[in-house]
């Protein structure tokens, strides 16, 4: 099973029963799998007229009570940005899968890229915080898709799966384990009587319980700045309150959200930091470096957003160098550079896309770094 | 300028006793109620509300057919017909 298909299976296992999408290489197989599977389990597969419509349809479906997903790649991801913002503003749980290809523009549609990592964080206008996770195998495409739904339901935020063509199109054995109901998180339901329900009145955890359409709450939601009743309030005071909550509900829960894989970091002088397909290449290079006696380690970012600032800062105090291979011209490396605060060097190993790094290139960089 | 007017289902409503009520805070003085009342029950006055909008007044409650046109046409949900309960309050 390839990564795209595994992602679809993960969604089904997570309870996703609504998929809206628009075909695009290399994400199409997610949609294709969903179109086969959903009618069998009584879910809805709809192919919308474009990615904008797809994004909005999953928001609507989420407000109808469904766990909903869409999948796309760069060009479609760009088109989804405006309404990703709506999802954030309405606090709508949903999952958006980006199987990255090499860009910009139409670029290399069938070949791998990791050029949308910063876009995942900053691609929509205005202030927000988002969750983005990056699988590196078909098995993780399955399991992290479940994680994505869980985070999305828990924090009422769209969650991005920032995969790439290599992982999406890679075939490996995928164990589709039955997921226990208690391992699936569901959005909080309102306990207030319908008359008193305020759609944006948060609990202590900053997250408001979510009513869905058709249950008599007669609630209102809007993409305008709003108060706890969901009513538009056109003041900087309302904006301040709302923005801080939307951002803080993610930032304050960093520890719950962030997933990292750490390999040989305990004594590492050189930390290779990578994600997605690149992490599997980096793994090989780190192995080889260790074989040569170099104290190299791998920090694999599973969660890229919110960014694991603290862990980077800690490692910066320990290591001399971060080596950052990515299939772009420097994106996550900038964040690492920022968090390292000059305490460790950051060495970017850019690859412009259409392929992955050769492990030798990473190894060479590790070697060089180890000499400093 | 008075133009052709369509009295809305006058038949059903004409007999019910009713009162026209104007919410002065909501009214924005567009003049629709006065202009389109088929019986000329209302007229725009010189009175202005707190936002400076001129207000309509009821000229003659007795002419009212309770057709509901003013209520339906008011853009501001600012005028309505209160049907009297049979036998009064």
């Amino acid at each position: 099973m390839n990564g795209d298909e595994a992602c679809a299976e993960g969604a089904i296992s997570a309870g996703c029963r609504f998929f809206a999408g628009y075909p695009i290489t290399p994400a199409t197989e997610v949609a294709e799998r969903m179109s086969k599977r959903l009618p069998k389990v009584g879910g809805i597969y709809i192919q919308m007229e474009d990615e904008i419509a797809s994004m909005n349809a999953i928001l609507g479906a989420s407000w109808a009570g469904q766990k909903a997903m869409t999948s796309t790649s760069g060009p479609g991801f760009s088109l989804m940005m405006e309404n990703l913002g709506l999802g954030v503003m309405l606090e709508t749980p949903c999952v958006l899968v980006n199987i990255q290809r090499a860009g910009p523009s139409t670029g290399l549609p069938t070949l791998v890229g990791q050029g949308d990592m910063m876009q995942a964080r900053w691609g929509a206008h205005g202030i927000y915080e988002i969750i983005a996770i990056v699988p590196n195998s078909p098995q993780e495409m399955f399991s992290l898709t479940i994680t994505a739904f869980n985070l999305s339901e828990k924090y009422r935020v769209p969650v991005l799966i920032m995969s790439d063509e290599a992982v999406g199109h890679m075939s490996e054995k995928v164990v589709i384990h039955r997921v226990n109901q208690q391992d699936l998180l569901e959005r909080k339901k309102p306990c207030a009587e319908s008359a008193n329900y305020q759609p944006y009145k948060p609990d202590d955890d900053l997250i408001p319980p979510m009513a869905i359409a058709g249950n008599g709450y007669r609630f209102h939601v809007t993409g305008l700045t709003h108060d706890e009743r969901g009513y538009p309030v056109m003041t900087s005071v309302a904006q301040d309150k709302l923005m801080r909550r939307l951002v803080e509900k993610i930032r304050q829960n960093r520890d719950d959200i962030i997933l990292l894989e750490e390999v040989s970091l305990d004594d590492a002088d050189v930390v290779v930091c990578a994600y997605g397909i690149t992490s599997r290449v980096a793994y090989r290079a780190v192995q080889q470096a260790r074989g040569e006696g170099i104290r190299a380690g791998l920090l694999r970012l599973i969660t890229v957003w919110p960014f694991p600032e603290q862990r980077i800062a800690d490692l910066a105090s320990q290591a001399t160098t971060f080596v950052v291979p990515e299939i772009n011209y420097g994106q996550i490396s900038l964040e690492i550079e920022r968090c390292a605060q000059g305490k460790a060097r950051t060495v970017l190993l850019p690859h412009m896309g259409g392929g992955v790094h050769h492990p030798q290139i990473i190894l060479a960089a590790i070697r060089e770094a180890s000499l400093c | 300028m008075k133009l052709w007017r369509e009295p809305f289902d006058r038949a059903q409503k004409a007999t019910k006793p009713a009162k026209v009520i104007i919410d002065k805070d909501r009214c924005k003085g567009c003049g629709y109620c006065a202009e389109f009342c088929p019986k000329g029950v209302l007229e725009m006055s010189q009175e202005i509300n707190s936002k400076g909008y001129p207000l309509p007044v009821v000229l003659d409650q007795n002419r009212c057919l309770a057709c509901g046109l003013c209520e339906a046409i008011c853009p501001d949900f600012g005028i309505f017909i209160r049907y009297e309960k049979e036998g009064g309050l």
Binding site: T110, S171, I277, R284, G355, P359 | -
Partner: protein, 192 residues
């Protein structure tokens, strides 16, 4: 960490779109990982063409989980198009087994050892359905190498082809295998 290197085998299948290159790779992977209970990764590269563009599948097979999923020094290379031959088939390392379809690839006459040949496209055409050429190749491969077990391969073929075409495909597989077994020079690779 360095778990997979000793038991690792790499296969590259390269041709053009429409030949079933990717499917062959998937069948190999499925055979190794599901039916032979090992691990396998298949990665692919292809162009924008639905048909006719160059296209390659890389399969890595191991007894241990596979970290680095790409082929760097393949034990077997299957070449089904001239362009692919130029890129991958002309200068193999000495212990690489090269298999070509001689109707589609004109090998360098001085290449040593000369590549193995299986005229799979023509054989498939003779069977009446060109689409099974890739399965013929797999059968051939099962004869000249033992990276994966024949049984696993047969099961994987059955599990991967469209419903109702299983038998026909197995026939193609056997045809290729028989052809392979008949070939004089048996070049078995993979120590399993």
């Amino acid at each position: 960490m360095d778990k997979d290197s000793d038991s690792r085998f790499e296969i590259r299948i390269a041709g053009f779109g429409g030949q079933g290159v990717i499917l062959s790779g998937q069948i190999m992977g499925k055979a190794a990982s599901i039916y032979d209970k090992g691990f396998a990764t298949m990665t692919q590269s292809y162009g924008p063409e639905a048909r006719g563009g160059s296209c390659a599948a890389e399969v890595v097979i191991s007894q241990n989980p596979i970290d680095y999923p790409y082929v760097t020094s393949p034990q077997v290379v299957v070449i089904l198009a001239q362009e692919a031959y130029t890129n991958y088939g002309r200068n193999p390392s000495t212990d690489t087994l090269v298999i070509i379809d001689p109707d589609l690839v004109n090998p360098d006459p001085f290449q040593t050892p000369p590549p193995l040949s299986v005229p799979a496209t023509r054989m498939a055409q003779e069977m009446g359905r060109t689409v099974v050429a890739n399965i013929i190749v797999l059968g051939f491969l099962s004869a000249v190498s033992n990276l994966v077990s024949v049984e696993a391969l047969r099961k994987a073929v059955l599990a991967s082809v469209p419903e109702g075409t299983g038998e026909f495909n197995l026939k193609a597989f056997d045809l290729g295998r028989t052809y392979g077994l008949e070939q004089e020079r048996r070049n078995t690779v993979g120590g399993k």
